[in-house]
Amino acid sequence: MATITDDQFFDPTVETMPRAELEKLQEARILQLVPYVYERSPLVRDLWEQHGVTPDDIKSLADFKAKVPFMDKDTIRAYRDKHNDPYGGLACVSAPHLRGVGFTSGTTGDPTPLPRPEDNAVVNGLKRELWQIGVRANDKFAYMLFSFRDGLNADRWMDCGMIPVAVQHSPLEIPYLVKISREHRPKALFMISTPIIMGLDAYQKKSGDDLREAFSSIQGVVFGGEPMSPNLRKIVEGWGLEIFELSSLGDLATAMECKAHDGMHTWEDIALIEHLDPNDNIEMPDGSRGELVVTALTDDVAPFIRYRTDDLISFTRQPCTCGRTHGRMKPVGRKGDEMLIGGRSVLPIDIFPFIGDFPETRSGLFQMIRPQREMDALRLRVGFDPDELHDDEAALCERISSKLQSELNIPITVELMSNEALLKLGPPNKIPRVSKS
């Protein structure tokens, strides 16, 4: 049996499990979950009764995929509002089994409560990810979650021996991050965002501090929350850091790149992943784009069951060259963010590669204005650094629109806003890339 000192994988039994065994494990967990949630989750009971489904109808994984109805954010919110239940009918237990409540970011409205069990599925997946970066027992890593809104979980790392060094995720904390990097020599930095990179870049320019030296113990840095623009990537790589991109797996876990950098590993023992036609219950072909639909396999407090995430991904179950067997995804965007400009599909991911091409817009900040799905021209709000402006705003607008129009072949109008003002439009460290107005 593998031991915790084995090098490549934190949990080799699970991470490299052959597909047939993995599906057997999923089926066992699903068949335990089905009667449990039907008995305990008011939303599941309500939804399944509306569709005439009972646990007796589900005898296999195939039955589950064919018969169990979907839920989505709107279903949960509707149940919450109708029944005055903050958990939206998802909670299967009450305190003390229910320990706490975390929340989604609230980018698009009231934050959605995420009831928390004693165990933490997100951290369980992240242990595997930090291990593959190179963090081992007794090693430290800089721990910069976006917020405290999921509660305190530093003790959840105990069973892998990794030691989180907590740093507040804020550009104001940059000097402290640099200080603890020299003091504690972390092996990884989890995680950074666009505002943190901009803050580090500005700190380096202003102070003359050598970030390559300060971060020399770090074997990998995790970037998440949105796609990374080529310019930000260049800045981070300039500090000698290998970047691993991370995305949410429908708020129940995360998915992250390995050293092969060919898609983010979804943990299919933690979440049942379905990759479906965005408008139907049809499995999309391997490697194609589809909607991510998840079922929580290890959460007995408030599991999502066939939750349509609204996230469009390309997805493959081909084993990775790193040796792991779980499916890999590449986020494309949110279904609800898609715009049709003159009939052509446009998502924020189409803008990211080009938006930072000018010195004034290196931060890569922008918003697509989406009053409705179909428009004749794309309206873009673009963040810029006034200190870098070398002609005038009208000329910068012209340069940006010409570049994007030639790359995307659609009509575009650009309005400028300073980076500072644009960052204030959303929750901290995250701006909505699509806005109604």
Binding site: A95, P96, R99, V101, Y143, L152, M158, I163, I180
Partner: protein, 228 residues
């Protein structure tokens, strides 16, 4: 002679404390320290006679694990549910949303930043926090105390230690088993009595306060701190 003369505590994490100049200083801490502090905070929570299943809002920052995790775990030990939000101005919307969605019995770690954020959004603390126990940080305590309808108590970071006020509202209790607490020239000075990841001997916290020893009317003999 015994081969084992001293053991060293392994940290589970590194938090931070504010040194006497108010600067962040990293603070490795162990699970034993968290658990001892949790027990001390339970002695305080016990004086409020909360009911299992009650909801408590905890506002904190991600790097405050060494100080706030014991409070969060004490809430959970009590069988209550901890709902979390950042203690920053820009997370005030979440605070309001939690107050609106959940029937709260208490709110802990409320800071001046939280109050500023609520004010910017047009929310009134005297309405939001009405009917619950509120543990306020020093920069929010007097502001909330000004509202006679609110039930306000102290939540204080004192260097590496934490102090929490009981139902009697007669000073914030600090764990007497963990810390030797002295008042020297009106300043709180701490010395750890048990093994910790980081030792603090005669540590001058910079906090000007009265230290009250002896029993409190709540029945908890832990010393009480009342800021000057």
């Amino acid at each position: 002679m015994s081969q084992i003369t001293q053991t060293t505590l392994s940290p589970i994490a590194v938090g931070r404390y504010l040194n006497v100049d108010g600067e962040k200083t990293s603070l490795p801490y162990s699970l034993m320290e968290v658990d001892r502090s949790r027990r001390a905070i339970l002695r305080v929570l016990n004086t409020f006679h909360f009911r299992t299943g009650a909801n408590i809002l905890i506002t904190s920052l991600f790097d405050e694990g060494a100080h706030m995790m014991p409070f969060e775990r004490a809430v959970m030990t009590y069988g209550m549910v901890a709902a979390s939000a950042d203690s920053t101005p820009w997370d005030a919307k979440r605070v309001e949303s939690i107050v609106r969605m959940f029937a709260l019995s208490g709110a802990a770690g409320i800071s001046g930043d939280v109050l500023d954020g609520l004010a910017q959004l047009g929310f009134k603390p005297e309405e939001l926090f009405d009917g619950m126990k509120v543990w306020a940080r020093p920069d929010a305590y007097e502001r909330l105390k000004a509202f006679p309808n609110l039930d306000v108590y102290r939540w204080m970071e004192i260097g590496p230690a934490v102090a929490v006020e009981c139902s009697q509202g007669a000073g914030a209790h600090i764990d007497r088993f963990e810390w030797n607490v002295e008042e020297i020239d009106g300043e709180v000075v701490l010395t750890n009595r048990l093994n910790r990841c980081v030792e603090f001997k005669n540590y001058h916290t910079g906090l000007k306060a009265k230290v009250h020893n002896g029993g409190c009317d709540c029945g908890n003999p832990d010393p009480r701190i009342i800021p000057a």
